[in-house]
Symmetry: C2
Subunit: 217 residues, 2 copies
DNA sequence: GCGAAGTGGAGGTCGTTCCTCCGTTTACGT
DNA sequence: ACGTAAACGGAGGAACGACCTCCACTTCGC
């Protein structure tokens, strides 16, 4: 698309950057549900300019979040390379939630299909095998309780995301407290009660994500 | 208010019941954000009838949820009367979340100030001391890890509420799995890492609840 | 059977979002 | 330095959804 079109005029490309920057900030702060009007206003630019550069919101989101999603994959890879499998798992969970805390838009993107661009879905699917390896390694090392699986991690993430949404304004780091609590439950050890209910299957997870909508405006 | 007004005509009181019943069903299924129009339609009644009986949504909510909130208090009291303090705590958490799972409106009412009627707030405040006793008893029995307090329970509830919202349609009982996981973290025992970050203060919790809005339509 | 009480739903008001239209301004090649 | 294509901004139209009222009609109950 941008292969060899004629280049943008200077003011146009400056405004394009402004819009991107404004969108970055607002998405991070308030999630993906911010309106184009707000983004434009925050960028100090007319709405029309935003629409002229990006046909619709999704295009804007796509332009911004590819990089973020890539960071997420990188996190999974690093975690997998950690010496201690348990530390790797903890690093992945903590790092992932920290990313969500720093960028609410990312959370929306990770847990909801509603805004889903193809490439985002593909990246998300690419992470799955990494998570499975991470979990398998932790199991093999006897660090992770055997009755939790890879499909439990998104739920843990989801729960902590709720803590962020609820209390992020009051205590931005509070989620760490509940991550620690959950980790103490996830660790292998005695005094564990067998977990009831099977985790969601992949299909169920997908269905839940499709029906899921991020928080209200 | 209803002390000695003139009684409703038969059709009017029949319709009043229909509206209440419809509201009960819709609130339970979809949370407090259902519209008056939907309630009226579901009741097989005109919108005006709904408004005639209940000035606004809040009045309708109030009429319905006083009983529910009372159930919640009763649950806390029963839990406090349990022989085993840990079982009492588990019963309270499990029972409370089960109530939320059965009635999404209740969850909105418990965790948000947005719809708050005075009496609901008062009931909620009445439960707090009970929760504190419940926690104190569990601490005294050495069953609950010492670094969690009463202010952590709402957060546990919140996290499990998120599981319900996310996956309730796919697997209505899934929350029990994550409750079990959390309980394994909450139980006293060794292999516990000290929890980072202080729990929310009462004031912070209030502030978070005020800013909080239930899920999207 | 009559009057008061009650009814339903069409539709007005308001707020929100998305997006376009078009008169004006700006960049930049010549 | 000037003409033209490119870009601009923001007013405002279209679509929507929620809330609530108005009023011509029906029903109840004495």
């Amino acid at each position: 698309m941008s292969t060899s079109e004629r280049p943008l005029r200077r003011d146009a490309s400056r405004n394009r950057e402004r819009v991107l920057q404004a969108a970055r900030e607002l998405f991070a702060e308030r999630g993906l549900e911010v309106t184009m009007d707000e983004i434009a206003r925050h960028a100090g630019v007319g709405v029309a300019t935003a629409y002229r550069r990006f046909g619709h919101r999704d295009e804007l989101i796509g332009a911004l979040f590819e990089a973020r999603m890539h960071d997420y994959v990188a996190l999974a890879e690093e975690s997998l390379a950690a010496d201690d499998p348990w530390e790797g798992l903890v690093g992945f969970l903590g790092g992932g939630v920290a990313m969500q805390a720093a960028d609410r838009g990312l959370k929306d993107l990770l847990m909801s299909h509603s805004h889903s661009l193809e490439r985002v879905i593909r990246v998300r699917e690419g992470v799955l095998p990494l998570i499975e390896q991470l979990v398998a390694r932790a199991h093999a090392a006897g660090a992770l309780r055997p009755d939790v699986g890879a499909r439990d991690l998104p739920m843990v993430s989801l729960m902590l995301g709720q803590v962020i949404d609820f209390s992020g304004d009051q205590a931005p780091e509070l989620w760490r407290r509940y991550l620690a609590l959950l980790l103490d439950g996830l660790r292998a050890g005695d005094g564990r009660t067998p977990l009831p209910e099977a985790p969601l299957t992949t299909a169920q997870l997908d269905a839940a994500m499709s029906a899921w909508r991020p928080r209200r405006r």
